[in-house]
């Protein structure tokens, strides 16, 4: 792992990182946006998963619910990643030694991979009800994305 230390140091010393650290309000403001986006990102996922389990919006095909939520999911993900990168830059060295941060990156990698290679394709083709495979995929997506949130919150608490 030590091979990537220079990268973390470079992030930590970057102009953006220093600017955020030098401002009293930048970090809290960015973190607030990170939290808004969390609400939208996880919220849109919860609605879709509830639909796949047949608990809401049964009159709408699953693919239709998915496409209605897609722009909100995409935009919140963009805000999430942008604000997340800024937060990371400002405390890159702290993150390097932080076990929760490593877990978060682990979950994030698999959440993104799963969503864009498997989950999005599954929901695109589901109609009135989700087969067992679709429900399992929904549960996996929830575990991965809430795992990202859980590990993210733990960065501040556990180190």
């Amino acid at each position: 792992m030590s091979a990537i230390i220079p990268f973390f140091q470079w992030c930590d010393n970057s102009f953006i990182a220093q600017s955020i650290r030098n401002s009293r309000v930048a970090f809290p403001i960015i973190e607030n946006f990170h939290l808004f986006a969390l609400t939208v990102l996880l919220g849109s996922l919860v609605v879709l998963v509830l639909r796949q389990f047949g608990l809401v919006y049964k009159a709408q095909p699953i693919s239709e619910v998915a496409s209605a939520l897609r722009p909100w999911n995409r935009w919140s993900m963009a805000v999430m990643l942008t604000s997340g990168i800024l937060l990371f830059l400002s405390e890159a060295m702290k993150c390097y030694g932080n076990t929760s941060f490593r877990w978060k990156m682990f979950f994030l990698f698999f959440a993104l991979l799963f969503q864009f290679t498997i989950y999005n394709r599954i929901v695109k083709n589901e109609g009135a009800s989700a087969p067992i495979g679709g429900k399992i995929a929904a549960a996996v997506a929830v575990c991965l994305w809430f795992g990202v949130g859980l590990a993210g919150r733990a960065i501040g608490f556990l180190g």
Partner: protein
């Protein structure tokens, strides 16, 4: 008895002290409070967006709103319960925080907005249930709700920086 001394008494109770001094309980409650944002405000967002005429426009407003409501209430119930425990263990700090006070005021305003919507324009929903874009009063209720909740999240997150 002043509010401040009531807050002091509350956080000195066994439950308040135990939560505050525990290694795990406080972070666990706090994490649930944050992640349940997705089930409370996250789901509310969908019905607000339908009211504004931005999402699921071909579905009746009452369908989008009523079907998500029970789940939304579960989310808000989790928020209230975890929020009460978080307040319980640090009532004095919370009481002294302007962000916390603003949060309480905004919560009341958001509740009034929701009630005014239910008792007001929503009573005539039959007339505009299938409208792609609901009437002005409903759109305003959606916008106001969304703005209040973003402000509530901001106050909640920011008060923790002042502790």
């Amino acid at each position: 008895m002043s509010i401040l001394s009531m807050c002091q008494w509350l956080q000195d109770t066994n439950i308040g002290t135990s939560i505050r001094e525990s290694i795990w309980v406080f972070p666990i409650i706090e994490t649930i409070h944050v992640l349940a944002l997705s089930i409370s405000v996250g789901l509310l967002l969908v019905s607000d967006l339908r009211l504004m005429g931005y999402i699921m426009k071909r579905r009746p407003v009452s369908e989008v709103y009523e079907q998500i409501k029970p789940w939304m209430f579960i989310g808000f119930a989790i928020m209230v319960v975890t929020g009460i425990f978080l307040f319980w263990c640090q009532a004095v700090k919370a009481y002294n925080s302007y962000f916390f006070r603003a949060k309480v005021v905004l919560l009341v305003l958001a509740a009034i907005n929701a009630l005014a919507f239910e008792r007001g324009i929503y009573r005539t929903v039959d007339k505009w249930d299938n409208a792609l874009v609901p009437p002005m009063e409903a759109r305003v209720a959606g916008w106001v709700s969304l703005i209040f909740w973003l402000a509530i999240i901001t106050c909640g997150r920011t008060m923790a920086y002042t502790f």
